[in-house]
């Protein structure tokens, strides 16, 4: 006799009954999913369904490989085990269902028999073990290790318990069946046969049959409960997170949609102001807490927690649409679901977006809320309002005025823009470079270095204005657009196509956001330029410059644009330097606190981010703290000063180090 699955063995003829009962959990499942789907339809139209094929590839490559989830080793493996265990068992159940209901009645055919069946059994047994291991790891982490990012509410325990019971009862059923039927090849179901011999030695055969019958119904009931409970519990993420990966993994992680100036409302203050894709994202949160433990605002004890924002928006979305079909009045979000201090606590460092395994992008929601505060209600923190006025009238956030930009040009004798054809590129200095004493020192060195390396370039001087980054990150889309259009016009008038910037913030807007407004530019950051130049023509670098150096990655270089190897390559090319890394580096870097208007917002609550980062740098015992951003440089210098450690560690720009080493 070939080995096969005895479906409904020992249960009697209940096939029709079971098939009818199946509709109950299915009804709950579909009703629940339909409710969530109706929630998403509250949002405005968007494009989440174009490039279906690409989106499918993105979805499957993310879900099956767990590439984003595995960033956290323990949690990732745990979820990988549960996922694959669960997925294979689910496929197994489907296979049994197909075999029993479809093939048996229609074709009188069988595929679950013989060698394939044995392999099938082995796979399912192993999947069960995988699932048990995963669930145990989960329970251990959530209820024994208790990391602060995870909630320990009873609903999580219930879900774990449910999965555990379903798996264990499944294994027991298998064991009981094997102990009575004693088929050949029990080697292929290791867990079942071990349990089987255990039952055989402890229970009489008629007891085993009775126990099997009872447990069968329990197993069925629990499975049905699982399916029915799914859309109303954290298990929803099976659907919502997958759907969100499909809808949102292709959209850029930070570039905001440009605003439709013809509409009545700007930004978001109600659930209905969100695009429907954003609402899917709210439902997709698995509460893993990775954004929370990466958020510099949260870690420095400020009133912002990206996870909390997503969850309270999610709560509001579900309240907006009661389970009944009645309409409810839309309520404002700001001041109710999200507080103003939370919205202004963000430094736009993008870490929440990068850490989220299911592409939720809390930063974008915060920026949408900011847009509402600024554009619709004009509720602006005083410091930021001053920045806006300075930008509008003077063209720089500090209100120093364009003519003063010439000071740097006069002291360095760099050519003012005019005849672009003769030069390699336009060097965009940026407001920080022109107006901040420390950064001006960096720039003088950088200009000298570029000339030494044989580049010819020009600068705009008094014709340069702010790039608009501050305006956009704080939500003032109007000002951003005005500034950007003026800049693009200036580039076009002067036929400027190649730009090298000093500040990563300028670099990012030019590279990623100006193209949406019609600019056609080749933009690079000077770190890229220096690296390329060093690789093309090896230079004679002195080995007199010695010591350890640690590199602080600016958010707008590493996370926003993936540039973290270039500056390290430059540092590595200096023979006397040894690179040591801080605990958080490269794409996981910790924000200095100046981005997203943070430079100007007086954030007196909690710890200071730059001090926290400076302490991290001190731990490395490095002699130099190198960076490649004017904001970061100042913040780090200030952080060290306020820790009274200004001497222990010298804060330098990578260009300054290279200049010192270049003979």
């Amino acid at each position: 006799m070939t080995p096969t699955r005895e479906i409904f063995w020992n249960i009697g003829d209940v096939r029709t009954l079971v098939h009818l009962l199946m509709f109950i959990p299915l009804f709950f499942l579909l009703y629940g999913l339909f409710f969530h789907f109706r929630c998403y339809r509250l949002g405005r139209g968007g494009k989440g369904f174009d490039h279906v094929l690409k989106r499918m590839v993105s979805l499957f490559s993310t879900v099956f490989t767990h590439r984003t989830i595995l960033k956290d080793r323990y949690g990732g493996l745990m979820h990988l085990f549960i996922f694959w265990g669960f997925f294979m068992l689910f496929l197994g159940t489907i296979a049994v269902f197909i075999q029993d209901s479809v093939l048996r009645t229609l074709l009188e055919a069988k595929f679950l028999h013989g060698g394939f069946y044995l392999l099938f059994k082995l796979t399912l047994d192993l999947s069960g073990i995988l699932l048990l291991v995963g669930v145990s790891m989960g329970i251990y982490r959530r209820y024994v290790l208790k990391p602060s990012k995870l909630d320990t509410g009873p609903e999580y325990a219930f879900v774990f318990f449910l999965i555990l019971l379903i798996t264990l009862s499944g294994f027991s059923l298998e064991g009981l069946r094997l102990s009575v039927l004693k088929p050949s090849g029990s080697f292929w179901s290791p867990v079942g046969s071990v349990l089987g011999s255990f039952f055989e030695s402890t229970l009489q055969e008629n007891w085993r049959l009775a126990f099997h019958r009872t447990l069968w119904w329990v197993h069925l009931g629990l499975s049905f409960l699982f399916v029915a409970y799914l859309p109303f519990s954290k298990l929803l993420h099976i659907f919502s997170s997958s759907f969100n990966i499909f809808v949102n993994s292709m959209t850029p992680s930070f570039t905001l949609q440009s605003l439709d100036f013809g509409s009545e409302r700007f930004g978001v203050n109600r659930i209905r102001d969100f695009a429907w894709e954003s609402l899917v994202a709210l439902d997709a949160c698995t509460e893993c807490g990775r954004c929370q433990s990466a958020c510099p605002a949260y870690l420095s004890e400020k009133p912002l927690n990206p996870k909390k924002i997503i969850l309270s928006l999610q709560k509001r979305m579900r309240k907006e649409l009661p389970f009944s079909f009645g309409q409810s009045l839309p309520r404002d979000l700001i001041g109710d679901a999200v507080m103003e201090e939370e919205i202004w606590g963000c430094t736009t460092c993008l870490n929440c977006v990068k850490q989220c395994p299911v592409f939720i992008k809390p930063l974008k929601k915060i920026l949408e809320l900011r847009r509402h505060l600024i554009l619709t209600e004009s509720r602006i923190p005083l410091e930021i309002e001053r920045v806006y006025r300075n930008l509008e009238w003077f063209g720089d956030p500090l209100g120093i005025g364009k003519i003063n930009r010439d000071e740097l040009i006069q002291s360095t004798r760099i050519e003012r823009a005019g005849n672009e054809g003769a030069n390699d590129f336009l060097f965009w200095v940026g407001c920080q470079g022109y107006f901040h004493d420390r950064n001006r020192r960096t720039l003088i060195v950088l200009f000298r270095l570029l000339q030494k390396l044989g580049f010819t370039f020009s600068v705009l001087g008094r014709e340069e204005t702010c790039c608009g980054d501050v305006a956009r990150r704080t939500g003032n889309e109007y000002l951003f657009k005005t500034i950007a259009e003026k800049n693009i016009e200036c580039f076009e008038k002067r036929r400027i196509t190649k730009i090298v910037t000093h500040c990563p913030h300028c670099f990012n807007v030019f590279k990623n956001e100006y193209p949406h407004l019609g600019a056609n530019l080749m933009v690079s950051h000077y770190a890229e330029l220096l690296k390329e130049s060093l690789e093309k023509t090896p230079r004679n670098l002195s080995s007199d410059l010695t010591g350890k150096v640690t590199f602080h990655d600016p958010c707008y270089l590493s996370r926003y644009n993936g540039i973290f190897s270039e500056p390290r390559r430059i540092l590595k090319s200096i023979p006397g330097l040894e690179i040591v890394e801080m605990s958080r580096s490269k794409e996981d870097t910790f924000c200095c606190g100046a981005g997203g208007g943070g430079m100007w917002l007086g954030r007196q609550i909690g710890k200071k981010m730059n001090e926290m980062r400076a302490e991290e740098a001190l731990i490395t015992k490095a002699d130099y703290l190198a960076t490649a951003c004017p904001y970061c440089l100042n913040m780090m210098e200030d952080g060290l000063k306020s820790l009274s450690k200004g001497v222990a560690l010298e804060v330098v720009d990578i260009a300054e180090l290279l200049d010192r080493a270049l003979v």
Binding site: L259, T376, S378, L382, E383, K402, I403
Partner: protein, 297 residues
């Protein structure tokens, strides 16, 4: 309907002295034109009155060359209903008397219950135009007022006059009147995007001096004659230098607020060794002694 007129000047911010040429004129690039902050506050007062009373219309009036329109648009974006611009190149920098006469002619074409203007313009720091105009119109005049409240019938206004050290006069006057507004607790609003869009669609009513018969005034002898203009290099201003131990944001706060803070003193604590360490650190950081102690250890 209560009609409020707000005199709205575009001022020249002379933020830089480096652009002075040999003739003593300031380079155009060194000038930034922006609405006079006091006039912004006057407009804010007017807009608040508009919110108080059920029906009111706020009209901006301004004189000057074409560039003034930008300031008026900003005022419209803040929420003013209309803007009238007496436009002429000869009004580039008129004397207060000519300004007052020109404004008078403009105002006489309008009906009004209240005229507001800023206490002074921050470029020429004159502060006389409001008083001149009220005299020419024989209107009650109060200077340096803030928090204006209108009586329900719109016949009287009650307001505070700002005195020194936070003292206030509470005064009341009959309307129509002309009031010059001081910076009080009221902060002018920042235009919303909707305001900007509405303003961009509105028309700034442009009128010519010929229509008012003040052509002769502009061509005639000015009351004040500039005999010689020389702009001296100003004395180097003592810059406030905040404590370098503060963070960037705190220092920026201090610089922006004019540095009204006591210098932080530093007390050292710890064992004698720690104290010595901290003291040397302090000396090194302030560049009193040279760095390089490490090698001596």
């Amino acid at each position: 309907m209560i009609q409020i007129l707000v005199c709205f000047k575009q001022v020249a911010h002379l933020y830089s002295r480096r652009g002075v040429d040999s003739s003593g004129k300031i380079e155009p690039d060194a000038v930034v034109y922006a609405p006079n902050p006091y006039d912004e506050i006057a407009l804010e007062e007017a807009l608040r009155i508009k919110q108080q009373v059920s029906q009111a219309e706020v009209t901006l009036i301004s004189i000057g060359p074409q560039r003034v329109e930008k300031a008026l648009r900003y005022g419209l974006a803040m929420g003013a209903d209309r803007a009238i611009h007496l436009c002429d190149q000869r009004l580039e920098s008129p004397s207060p008397w000519i300004t007052s006469k020109a404004l008078l002619k403009l105002i006489q074409t309008q009906c009004f219950d209240l005229i507001l203007c800023g206490k002074k313009a921050i470029d020429d720091n004159g502060g006389v135009v409001g008083a001149f105009v009220s005299e020419l119109l024989s209107l009650p005049f109060a200077s340096s007022v803030t928090e204006i409240v209108l009586a329900p019938d719109g016949k009287k206004a009650r307001m505070y006059r700002v005195l020194e050290r936070g003292d206030r006069h509470l005064i009341e006057c009959d309307l129509p009147a002309l009031l010059s507004v001081e910076r009080g607790v009221i902060r002018p609003r920042y235009p919303t995007l909707m305001g900007r869009l509405i303003a961009s669609r509105k028309e700034v009513l442009r009128v010519r001096p010929e229509e008012f018969g003040i052509d002769s005034l502009l061509n005639g002898e000015p009351k004040i004659k500039v005999s010689r203009l020389s702009i001296l290099r100003p004395k180097p201003k003592k810059m406030f230098r905040p404590d370098s131990n503060l963070s960037a944001e705190e220092r920026i706060q201090l610089i922006m607020s004019g540095g009204l803070v006591e210098r932080k003193s530093h007390s050292l604590k710890g064992s004698p060794q720690d104290l010595a360490e901290q003291f040397i650190n302090f000396l090194e950081e302030n560049r009193i002694i040279k760095k390089g102690r490490k090698s001596a250890d």
